[in-house]
């Protein structure tokens, strides 16, 4: 989860999020260089004593400031398109989970198993045990097996919501009357936090998402006990 005053991304827990982090680093370096160059040029402009007020044409500099940005854009676009197509790759999910947004909680349905569905409400601050995360903990976490492709079908019962878990690189709108699909793989066991990401009323900030990934054996034990 995020720590206080965090500016950057959370650690990546899925291959797609790793790719997104790498792409972000690549783009940030390019932006860093462009910013350094622009600041340097501004400093030069402010400290020069040379002035020339009769410029009629400047073919050479116009060529440079047309071609260079085009090259920069291509350098950013190629990795971007690569990540975009990676996100759309077809894999064979081992499990399908439905997440349905309500005001103001989530329902998770495991239709691959009989009668396995539950609601996930935020634990109010006054009921929170010591050491737990305020406004992030829920009574029933969404469990899933690690290192297995998971298909998430996301929808809503009432108004727009959005199912988002930053460390997995997932954010999908929950639209009433529509099923949105996303797939991901969690590479490590752990607990990952997210929050509803589409304004949905008074308690929009109080319907968090908690995903717990387990080794397959433990997940099967949990699903057996729960269904």
């Amino acid at each position: 989860m995020a720590h206080p005053l965090q500016l950057g991304f959370q650690d990546a827990m899925s291959p797609i999020m790793e790719e997104l982090l790498h792409f972000h680093d690549h783009t940030l370096m390019i932006v860093f260089m462009i910013s350094a160059m622009v600041l340097y040029i501004i400093m030069l402009m402010m400290t020069t004593k040379l002035t020339y007020t009769n410029t009629m044409n400047a073919q050479e500099v116009e060529m440079i400031w047309t071609i260079l940005p085009a090259i920069v854009l291509i350098t950013i676009a190629l990795p971007s398109l690569r990540v975009l197509y990676l996100m759309d790759e077809i894999n064979n999910p081992h499990l399908t989970i439905k997440a349905i947004g309500h005001q103001w909680y989530w329902t998770y349905e495991y239709t691959d198993y009989d009668n396995l569905e539950f609601d996930s409400y935020m634990i109010p601050t006054q009921d929170l045990p010591n050491g737990y995360f305020r406004l992030l903990e829920v009574d029933h976490r969404m469990m899933m097996p690690m290192e297995s492709p998971i298909r998430m079908l996301i929808s809503a019962e009432d108004v727009l919501h959005s199912w988002a878990v930053p460390s997995l690189g997932v954010k999908t709108d929950a639209v009433p009357g529509r099923l949105n699909q996303t797939t991901f793989i969690v590479t490590r066991p752990g607990v990952f936090y997210g929050q509803c990401s589409e304004i949905c009323g008074a308690n929009h900030s109080f319907m968090p998402i908690v995903v717990e990934s387990l080794p397959l054996q433990h997940f099967e034990n949990w699903s057996t006990m729960s269904s």
């Binding site: 790498h22 690549h26 370096m29 350094a36």
Partner: protein
């Protein structure tokens, strides 16, 4: 940014408060090579022409070009390496899963060698 965890749990040095040169792959090498390139180009131009302002301009340009060039080259190779690592991991996982079963590619290879000899 890549690999950012709890503050203070691992050393991070953020250049100008933005760029974490210790944890981002290729960042440290790019900045160091860029600084070296900037020094070489700027100093070289000054020694050749004795023009201070223009030498600074060349130094700045050298910094940007060397850093970006080194960065793109290193990241491209890093990406190829990551893809290879992923293929190897997948192969190892499949080897364990399929060992001695009909899907085991080694079993097919051995049977082909047996039939050829």
């Amino acid at each position: 940014m890549a690999g950012e965890g709890e503050p203070g749990s691992e050393k991070t040095f953020k250049l100008l408060g933005i760029l974490d040169v210790q944890n981002i792959p290729c960042a440290r090498e790019s900045i160091l090579y860029g600084s070296l390139g900037s020094l070489v180009v700027g100093l070289g131009h000054f020694l050749a022409t004795s023009r201070v302002r223009r030498s600074f301009d060349f130094g700045m340009g050298g910094f940007v070009l060397t850093t970006l060039g080194c960065w793109i080259y290193c990241r491209y190779n890093h990406a190829k390496l990551r893809i290879q690592q992923r293929i190897i991991q997948e192969g190892m996982r499949n080897k364990i899963l399929y060992e001695s079963s009909d899907f085991d590619p080694e079993r097919k290879q051995n049977s082909n060698r047996g039939s050829n000899s």
